[in-house]
Amino acid sequence: MYLYEYQAKKVVGDAGIPVPQNRLAFNPEEARQAAEEINKPSVVKAQVRAGGRGKAGLIKLVKGSQEAYSSAQDIFGKYHHGEMVEKVLVEEKLDIAKELYVSVVLDLNKAKPVVLISAEGGVDIEQIAESSPEAIIRVEVDPLEKDTPEHKWVEAWGKVGLRGKQLLKAASVASKLLNLFYKVDAFTVEINPLVITQAGDVIAADAKVIVDDSSLYRHPELQSYQELSSHPLEIEASKAGVSYVSISSEGFVGIVAGGAGLSMATMDAVFEYGGIPAAFLDLGGGISEVGMAESLKIMLKTEGMRGIIINVFGGINNCEIMAKGINRAFQEADIQVPIVVKMRGHSQEEGWAVLENLQIPIIKHGTTDEAIKLLLSKIKM
């Protein structure tokens, strides 16, 4: 889960890292009030997930509350990488003396956290990593260590030139950021820029936090940050415990598959043979008869969809149960589009028997490619 800036700043602030004074606003009037409360030169920042907000004109400097109102009015309702601006963060403008960079990222291959520290903050860190890699200090952390080795951050910030009180403050930020990384089960916690102000304070001017969805069950404080998809079928699928992904508005093939790998391979094959997927639905493991029926019925509601490939295995799932689910969908819904089922695995004979009663084509052997070709030929008929 990718947190919005305002959520990330809350989390970072709660971890004891200084953040600028800020208020969230849901409309221009609230933005005006927020600027009034802050009562300093401020910044109005669109709350959208994709980067590049500055270039897109979604971050505006404002001198007073009236300007905050008009800037917010400009920003609200704009689209950025497909997302509409529905919230803005109004934040005090910092008097920047220097911009630093610090993050903790999970190195997936080494299976350990890595702390990245640089005095070149405020810009795209990946560009720095390419142009002057020596400007970024990498500190690998042993995930079994109970404590944050404070001196490592003093060493790292010292190497990039920090001294005195700022060295200690920046080290403290790194230390707290690592604790936060563990606390929220993060993939990434990043502060860019970490600002040293003219007054010598060290403040997180921006914050990016990505947490592991699998860990949310143990983070009640983050669950409220989970935003349901705005797509009605994605919401419906999520309630049914399966995962529906809308692919293309020009798509006409619906994919119901078990497992991410097979889902993707099926989608690849649809494209490969000239089809366009409208959506795919991954059943995951342990699907029930009702869950299977619901999944099919959700896929049937997909706009523009003119045929469905059901590509499943009885492994962690069971063919008989899945076939019964398909049967149930046929009883409960009015199915007008061609459906091809490729199914084998545990209880395949029982599953096939159920499907044969429905008189729909079953690929018992053969590849995904065969099933797709058959479906596409039926759609074109």
Partner: protein, 302 residues
């Protein structure tokens, strides 16, 4: 003898008392697997399909030589189950559970490394040496009875898909390993390739990857760095996946262009791997190689 699992491998199942644990234990017993014990804290003394269940792994290892622990407990309990088997020095730990918190996996891996324990998974269908033994949820009749090809895959269902289609064309597989679909996994493609390098039964290796991460690129680097003695084929699922969409499991995210299918295939091709564009293409190319190398065997089995 196969890598990791064969007829002589003693297996314990952590979570045997659950619905899935019980069902797949039965399937493994039917396949002749030596499932010697189950472990579920608080359920010690129970017997499932004739197999004794203990409260602790320690009791199991005191009674039996345990080679492999298969973990099928719910995600919040995987960490405790895994460190228990690590602590008891079970040589191989296979974690089937999906949605394990990634920080838990991270710590499991660090502890496993410290204790010299191999971890496979999490989020895998398991491992099968067809005709010999299996630990996992795969339907065995899709896997045949052995052969010369080894399949290593992030996706479980693509294991079923590729192994069964090879079988239908008369090509046998000697080992199929689901390495797991999670962001952090215990045994990577590279680890698997290293294990298989000197395995006499393996003549060719099929790598089935996915978009996201850099495990396939890492494997390509490894293959480039050694004179790898086996034929290697690769398929990468998700080359048409729209960027930024999360395709089911967490491993399969294309982020910032890193880990795209084309980048992976390019690197693998550079390393001498036969790259393929679809499952059909994969099966076809393996078939051609097989026909060229082992025509008599194909004729015999067909």
């Amino acid at each position: 003898m196969s890598i990791i699992i064969d007829q002589n491998t003693n297996v314990i199942v952590q979570g045997m008392t659950g619905t899935q644990g019980s069902y797949h234990t039965q399937k493994m017993l039917e396949y002749g697997v030596k499932v010697v014990a189950g472990v579920t804290p608080g359920r010690g003394g129970t017997v499932i399909h004739g197999v004794p269940v203990y409260d602790t792994v320690k009791e199991a290892v005191q009674k039996f030589k345990v080679d492999l622990a298969m973990i099928m407990v719910p995600a919040p309990f995987v960490y405790a189950a895994a460190i228990e088997s690590i602590d008891n020095k079970v040589p191989t730990i296979l974690i089937l559970t999906e949605h394990v918190p990634v920080h838990d996996t991270m710590r499991i891996m660090a502890l496993a490394k410290r204790n010299g324990v191999r971890v496979i998974g999490p989020n895998t269908m398991g491992i099968i040496a067809p005709g010999k033994a299996k630990a996992g949820v795969m339907p065995v009749f899709l896997y045949g009875n052995g052969g010369k090809v080894t399949v290593v895959s992030r996706s479980g269902t693509l294991c079923h898909e590729s192994a069964s289609n090879l079988m239908y064309r008369g090509i046998g597989v000697n080992l199929v390993m689901g390495i797991g679909g999670d962001p952090i996994i215990g045994t990577s493609f590279t680890d698997a390739l290293k294990l298989l390098k000197d395995d006499e039964e393996t003549k060719a290796v099929i790598l089935i990857g996915e978009i996201g991460g850099s495990r396939e690129e890492e494997a390509a680097e490894y293959l480039k760095s050694v004179d790898y003695p086996k034929k290697v084929f690769a398929f990468i699922a998700g080359r048409y996946s729209p960027p930024g969409k999360k395709m089911g499991h967490a491993g399969a995210i294309i982020e910032k262009g890193v880990g795209s299918a084309s980048a992976k295939l390019e690197k693998l091709a550079e390393a001498g791997v036969v790259i393929t564009g679809s499952i059909e293409d994969l099966i076809k190319k393996v078939e051609d190689w097989h026909n060229g190398r082992y025509p008599e065997e194909l004729a015999k089995e067909a």
